[in-house]
């Protein structure tokens, strides 16, 4: 039984016919070759118990990150645990068979730097106590390890990401230029080692966590350390997306430094597991949209499965009563949006506009109202494109009845449909022709609506 069918049956049993019907109606992610944006997960080792590679693919996941640690392969000097790498290769092959790409994120940031051992009383190993092979971890030995790694994975991997959250973990940022320069010099050598073995390897650098990553990147760029970089990485949490202007500003600033840098994420989401299911789903929908609108091309969701981290909820969890695996509400926005947003943004803000807001004082134009501007746009063409309608702020409690104008002629025989990306509810909209387009009414809230023309 296919993953979607299985899910539909499960949800029908749970009394969620709307979601189940939606799963059956909405097509999976765009056809191969159409994709410009890649949705994925940063590590399958967390998730393989919960969802199969085929299931991931059906959900719209198009690539998989694999965390590789030097000390788990070379467990002691010149002692290599080939089983460790064999397992990763096996997972990669399974992903490839399901139509997904694979990438590698390196678990180390600068093994040879002894002075990085303590930052703000934090151990050098950061969150991975065994990530570094002790006194043998010189840079030269690490570069030799990288060459062996690339020889092993050549042809199977679409990118290598060098490190993770180096500003947060190691203080390598514009606030500590010396350390940032150190990382830049290290990266230059690491990139050279990778390219010696695979000249076409795509390399992602400058993995940052928070603050002003564009300031960090500008320094690395000006120092000449990013000549080999294909992308830069930024972890995106819900706190970065509460107001979309923050992430959009970062995206624009990085494109100003160089349009060559593709925007990459080592992980996004980190929605608190302390929140109600519907709230987690709302935040996930909002984060996905904000990151996509800001121009990110590679977006792995963190994590596919619920685990012990209350600050990052998953898409699935174990049912403690019957031992099965249950989807969480966040699966709905993840699937709906992974499929919808699997292309580069071609946003046309003036194609879809708010004509008026319905108030108890009568209808009012947006300019007459002092409210955070809702996000309303159409992306792409009428036939294959889609519209998005939502409040600008992720946690906004507002619910506004609005009359919208879509300056587009309806494709022949098509109706305009609004899909609530948070709960999957699907509504065929009543439309009228006027003002040079199609007029209709929807409720604007922080549960983003996906609009599209559908032929019934």
């Amino acid at each position: 039984m296919g993953f979607v069918s299985c899910l539909c049956n499960r949800w029908m049993k749970k009394g969620m016919p709307i979601v189940a019907a939606l799963m059956a109606v909405v097509p999976p992610a765009g056809a191969a070759g159409e994709r410009e944006v890649f949705w994925g997960t940063p590590s399958y080792s967390y998730g393989e118990r919960f969802v199969s590679p085929a299931g991931l693919s059906e959900m719209g996941v198009t690539y998989m990150g694999h965390l590789v640690y030097w000390n788990r392969w070379e467990t002691a000097r010149d002692r290599w645990d080939d089983n460790y790498i064999a397992q990763i290769l096996q997972r990669m092959e399974a992903m490839a068979r399901a139509g997904m790409r694979n990438g590698i994120r390196l678990g180390e940031a600068h093994p040879g730097a002894r002075e990085w051992k303590t930052i703000r009383n934090k151990p050098y190993q950061g969150r991975n106590k065994n990530a570094y092979p002790g006194e043998e971890d010189t840079d030269d030995r690490y570069f030799a390890y990288l060459r062996k790694l690339v020889r092993t994975f050549r042809g199977k991997v679409c990118y290598y990401v060098l490190g993770d959250e180096i500003d947060m973990l190691f203080d390598a940022s514009f606030r500590n230029e010396g350390r940032l320069r150190e990382y830049g010099a290290f990266f230059e050598q690491a990139a050279r080692a990778i390219r010696e073995e695979d000249p076409s390897a795509a390399i992602v650098v400058a993995p940052f966590a928070w603050g002003y990553p564009e300031s960090n990147l500008k320094l690395l760029h000006d120092w000449g350390y990013t000549k080999d970089a294909d992308g830069i990485a930024l972890n995106i949490s819900h706190i970065d997306c509460a107001d979309p202007a923050y992430l959009q500003g970062i995206g624009e600033a990085i494109r100003r430094i160089s349009p060559r840098y593709r925007l990459f994420s080592n992980g996004f989401g980190y929605v608190s597991d302390r929140l109600p299911e519907a709230c987690q789903a709302r935040r996930l929908a909002h984060i996905m949209l904000v990151a996509w609108e800001a121009g990110f091309s590679y977006l792995p969701y963190y994590l596919p499965a619920s685990n012990a981290h209350p600050w990052s909820s998953g898409l699935y969890r174990v049912n403690l009563q019957n031992g099965g695996i249950d989807p969480r509400q966040a699966v709905t926005p993840f699937r709906l949006l992974s499929g919808t947003l699997a292309r580069r943004p071609e946003i046309q803000e003036n194609r879809l506009t708010i004509e008026s807001i319905v108030t108890p004082f009568g209808e009012r134009r947006l300019e007459e109202m002092d409210i955070p501007k809702p996000v309303v746009y159409w992306n792409g063409s009428a036939e294959s494109g889609f519209g998005i309608v939502r409040t600008g702020r992720m946690n906004s409690p507002l619910q506004l009845q609005a009359r919208l104008l879509l300056r587009q002629t309806a494709p022949r025989g098509a109706v305009l449909v609004a899909v609530n990306s948070v709960n999957g509810e699907r509504l065929v909209l009543e439309t009228t022709q006027g003002n040079g387009g199609t007029v209709f009414s929807v409720t604007i809230s922080n549960e983003p609506l996906i609009l599209r023309w559908e032929t019934l």
Binding site: I239, D243, R274, R283, P360, M369, N395, P397
Partner: protein, 472 residues
């Protein structure tokens, strides 16, 4: 000027509730205990030492709380005097009673005959008239309900939230009116009383012995029913409105409040939304909303709109307090956490305005039913704490943008430089959850410094508003 005074006077006449002749009105939000407001109220404890040991009767927020443990009782007695034949009397109380081992009680009695209401374990109201069979009416008695008992001669009528619930007949009219409320049983429990309205007795026996707090007298009562219009001129220099709203709702953000401001540049509409209600249960909510007023606004019109829903919603109260903005920092980019160490902000107060309150945009990321925390704001002048105020976690939206509005009882003089901190009793994250608030990564606010754990932290500034009383 004269016109403005007349307008305010007219507004006060139409919107502010006046004392009614032949009746007694007591409201917890005036922050005066019943026995302080009227000497006919007496409070009793069993055992008598309970009063000193455990303080089972206290004011909390806008409610009088009677809270007892096992083998403890605490109740009020109001002696209303003799009744004449067919004299009509009524008692109306706004009450929420937590499910408890010992039932809460509201009763009228003359020692021989009685009418008693028992909010019964959260799920039913038990009604007993004289020594007849008790009737059980299913209703969420744990939520705030308005109970009303009407007596005229032998006739008894009982209303809940304005709807007739039960009628009955006493064997004989009550000869005198004694109102009892609280816990008179051996089991423990909790009862919250927001107001008492007794009609048919002489008016309040004396002025409250404790002065009603200054800010409460400046609230403007607005019409809360959906779609109804309230209009009021704004005092000069009004920079913001604090909205004090109460409602019964089954889903968050069910109600929107539309405020249309008249400014020299034309009308400008601001929309705010409630966000407190539980997702799963119908619940009583009290929430303070904070609305920035467009520049030079002279008048505001307000209408409410309940979002279309199959779930119940009912307004209970909507009060408006115009305030003057002293200072604030409105540009936040990112969220931060308030958990195990306080965060705060210093600020300049160039005109030396006494501070009436502080507002910080904040949301809650934990279940307040599981962790009933309070967020505490301490206001300092120099190194000295001059005032502190709390906001209960359940009054901060769960997962939505909301506010913690710390409204002090009276305006507090702080001089031209001051700072505040906000702190919670939650443990270190991620074990219990946290509050999130906004701050800027760049130091854009010129008048102050962000504080973390009491230490200055440059390069950040919290989003906050400090306000004073608006001139009236």
């Amino acid at each position: 000027m004269l016109r403005r005074i007349l307008m305010l006077w007219c507004l006060w006449l139409t919107l502010a509730p006046a004392s009614e002749a032949g009746s007694l009105v007591w409201r917890a939000r005036d922050q005066v205990l019943p026995e302080q407001a009227d000497s006919r109220f007496k409070v009793h404890f069993s055992p008598p030492s309970l009063a000193k040991q455990a303080k089972p009767v206290f004011l909390e927020g806008d409610a009088l709380v009677i809270q007892t443990g096992d083998n403890e009782s605490a109740w009020y007695h109001f002696a209303g005097g003799r009744l004449q034949g067919e004299q009509a009397v009524s008692v109306e109380m706004e009450v929420a009673a937590s499910p408890c081992a010992g039932p809460a009680q509201i009763s009228l009695s003359d020692g021989k005959r009685s009418v008693a209401l028992y909010p019964w374990n959260g799920t039913h109201l038990r009604v007993k008239i004289d020594d007849g069979e008790a009737a059980y009416h299913p209703m969420p008695t744990w939520a705030l309900q308005t109970y009303r008992i009407e007596l005229q001669g032998k006739a008894v009528r009982i209303f809940v939230n304005g709807k007739l619930l039960q009628e009955g007949i006493l064997k004989a009219p009550l000869e005198e009116l004694n109102l009892f409320f609280g816990d008179r049983s051996q089991g423990g429990g909790r009862m919250e009383i927001q107001s008492i309205h007794i009609q048919g007795v002489s008016g309040n026996s004396a002025e409250p012995s404790t002065k009603v707090t200054q800010h409460s007298s400046k609230w403007i009562r607005a019409r809360a029913e959906t779609g109804e219009l309230s209009e009021t001129p704004l005092p000069a220099g009004t920079g913001a409105l604090v909205l004090d709203v109460e409602y019964l709702a089954a889903a968050p953000r069910q109600a929107q409040l539309f405020l249309e401001f008249e400014t020299p540049a034309g009308k400008k509409m601001v929309v705010v939304s409630t966000g407190l209600a539980s997702v799963s249960d119908s619940s009583y909510c009290q929430e303070k909303l904070f609305v920035l007023v467009p520049a030079d606004a002279q008048r505001v019109s307000l209408r409410t709109l309940a979002a279309p829903s199959h779930t119940p919603f009912r307004w209970r109260r909507l009060n408006v307090l115009p305030v003057k903005l002293v200072t604030g920092f409105p540009q936040g980019e990112r969220l931060n956490y308030v958990t195990h160490q306080p965060a705060g902000q210093s600020f300049a107060n160039p005109e030396g305005d006494p501070v009436l309150g502080i507002c910080i945009p904040v949301s809650r990321e934990f279940d307040a039913a599981q962790f009933p925390d309070v967020l505490t704001c301490c206001l300092y002048s120099g190194e000295s704490e001059v005032c502190r105020q709390t906001v209960a976690a359940r009054q901060i939206p769960y997962g939505f943008d909301g506010y913690a509005v710390f409204l002090f009882d009276t305006p507090v003089a702080v001089g031209t430089r001051a700072h505040f901190t906000v702190s919670s009793n939650l443990g270190k994250p991620p074990y219990y959850g946290w509050y999130t608030f906004y701050h800027s990564m760049s130091d854009d606010y010129p008048g102050g410094t962000f504080l973390r754990g009491g230490n200055p932290d440059s390069g950040k500034d919290m989003v906050f508003f400090v306000f004073a009383s608006a001139d009236r």
